[in-house]
């Protein structure tokens, strides 16, 4: 984050302003990605009028950065009407999309409307891998075509590459594809459990050895020695630091109007169909609880060597059962990066060791004797 952006975030925090909001317009999708955490049925999405009213409230609350995501945003027939309304309210708009429905005409409209950036999911440079993940034949070609249309309009496009076991060998190809298209590529090994708590998707994620491989690849992380260096000693400032922006200067609104601290932090705080957004943001007990949590309050993480440098996601911790607890995926990442196990991993190892202790039963001889 640049110096000025950090100052702006600090100011938003002081003023209690939700600077960034992600609004999912729909959970419906025209792809069926194997790792997706959403239920794609429509359980009663907000209407156009409800969304416009919400956007008015978000602008009034001080939101500047608005991410429109889904599901696939362009499945909403009113997508451009919503976008026009949002731009008239002067939001800085980021779109997250698979871009399957973006052709030249849509790219021109996005340009005219002053969209700030567009992030497109690409899983592999090879159709047989990408299309197997999305379960839609021809999806890679359509998404790549869309990137070309968007780039031809001068739009700021980036590729998001979710790293899983089934596409881990393809990230150099995705990187090369990004270079060919003239767009940046971000890679993320995080797999999110389903919103209903089902954690089976996590089996798709990278194992320790693949994480180590990614974290040692200097084409991704820069200087490996620096990136993988042991963490510095946890300071008093670290212990008083906030976990992340979720609930502090950022939040998430679902297609049904539910407000959460983050898309990855499904703690219900209220619904904009029954309450004003600002009332939820300012007065929800759940938001107040999230805001009260500091590193020193966390039983495991406050004792961890990685406390000051960990990318711990409080939402993933919440989905693991305790928003003050560790997020095991981030523990695994810190371990893979530095070779130093987190406090959570060490305690799990200790308790597992207790579970499988084996010792010779002194009564074995007698039991055998008794059964013969």
């Amino acid at each position: 984050m640049t110096g000025l952006m950090q100052e702006i975030s600090n100011r938003a925090l002081e003023l209690g302003v939700p600077l960034s909001v992600q609004l999912d317009l729909t959970y419906r999708c025209n792809e069926r990605c194997v790792h997706c955490y959403l239920d794609h049925d429509d359980h009663g999405e907000m209407t156009t009028a409800e969304i416009k009213n919400l956007l008015d409230q978000l602008a009034e609350a001080g939101v500047l950065f608005l991410t429109l995501s889904g599901g696939e945003i362009m499945l909403r027939k009113d997508f451009f009407e919503i976008l026009e309304h949002a731009r008239a309210l002067l939001f800085s708009i980021k779109l997250k999309t698979n871009a399957m429905l973006i052709r030249e005409k849509e790219a021109r409209r996005l340009r005219a409307l002053g969209v700030h950036s567009i992030q497109i999911s690409i899983y592999s440079h090879r159709p047989e891998v990408h299309d197997a993940i999305t379960k839609v034949a021809g999806s890679l070609q359509r998404s790549v075509d869309a990137i070309r249309f968007l780039k031809s309009q001068g739009l700021n496009v980036s590729i998001a590459n979710a790293l899983m076991l089934r596409n881990i060998s393809d990230y150099p190809g995705v990187k090369a594809l990004g270079e060919e298209l003239g767009v940046g590529v971000t890679m993320d090994p995080t797999i999110t459990p389903k919103m209903d708590g089902d954690r089976s998707l996590l089996a798709l994620g990278l194992n320790h050895s693949e994480l180590v491989q990614v974290f040692r690849d200097e084409s991704l992380i820069g200087n490996a020695e620096e990136f993988c260096a042991p963490p510095p000693k946890v300071s008093e400032d670290d212990l008083d630091s906030l976990p992340c922006s979720a609930g502090h200067t950022a939040c998430y609104v679902s297609p049904y109007g539910d407000v959460y601290p983050c898309v990855q932090f499904p703690l219900p705080t209220g619904n904009v169909r029954t309450s004003k957004f600002l009332d939820i943001w300012r007065h929800s007990p759940q938001f107040e609880e999230v805001r009260s949590i500091k590193l020193r309050d966390m039983t495991s993480c406050s004792q961890c060597a990685h406390g000051g440098t960990c990318t711990r996601c409080p939402g993933l911790a919440y989905m693991e059962g305790n928003m003050r607890g560790p997020s095991s995926q981030d523990c695994e990442k810190s371990f893979a990066r530095t070779g130093i196990p987190s406090a959570n991993l060490l305690s799990r190892k200790a308790s597992l060791a207790g579970l499988v202790q084996i010792q010779t039963l002194p009564t074995t001889a007698r039991l055998v004797a008794a059964t013969t």
Binding site: T2, L4, M5, E7, I8, R11, A12, L15, V17, L19, A59, G62, V63, L64, F80, E84, R87, A88, L90, F91, S92, I93, R109, A112, L113, G114, V115, H116, S117, G154, L155, N156
Partner: protein
């Protein structure tokens, strides 16, 4: 600058008042700009129809303790800076282009 100067906000910008300062971002540009109170007044008055010297006289000098000469000089520097980043449009004629994003029939 000599003669009349008209300024309009670009339709490619995003902006929000944070406290007393205006935070501005131009589409596709990773940079962020923060305007102080006086610059915010000028930004908000940049409707493409009101000449800059009128904005200075009616808005800036009316609200802040500054002489028109000093305020105009500072404003001209601000306008040059923001226009170089595509945030403000500048013309010696009124700018009739709408400040809000253009609408297109689906």
């Amino acid at each position: 600058m000599s003669g009349k100067c008209y300024i309009a906000r670009s339709s490619q910008t995003a902006a929000r008042l944070l406290g007393e300062e205006m935070v501005i971002i131009s589409a596709g540009d990773p940079r962020v700009f923060s305007l102080n109170e006086v610059a915010t007044v000028i930004w908000e008055a940049a409707d493409g129809r009101t000449p800059l010297d009128e904005i200075i006289a009616d808005r800036v000098c009316a609200e802040f303790e500054v002489t028109p000469q000093v305020a105009l000089k500072d404003a001209e520097e601000l306008v040059q800076e923001l226009s170089s980043h595509g945030i403000l449009l500048v013309s010696d004629q009124p700018i009739v282009r709408p400040a809000s994003p253009p609408r297109e029939t689906p």
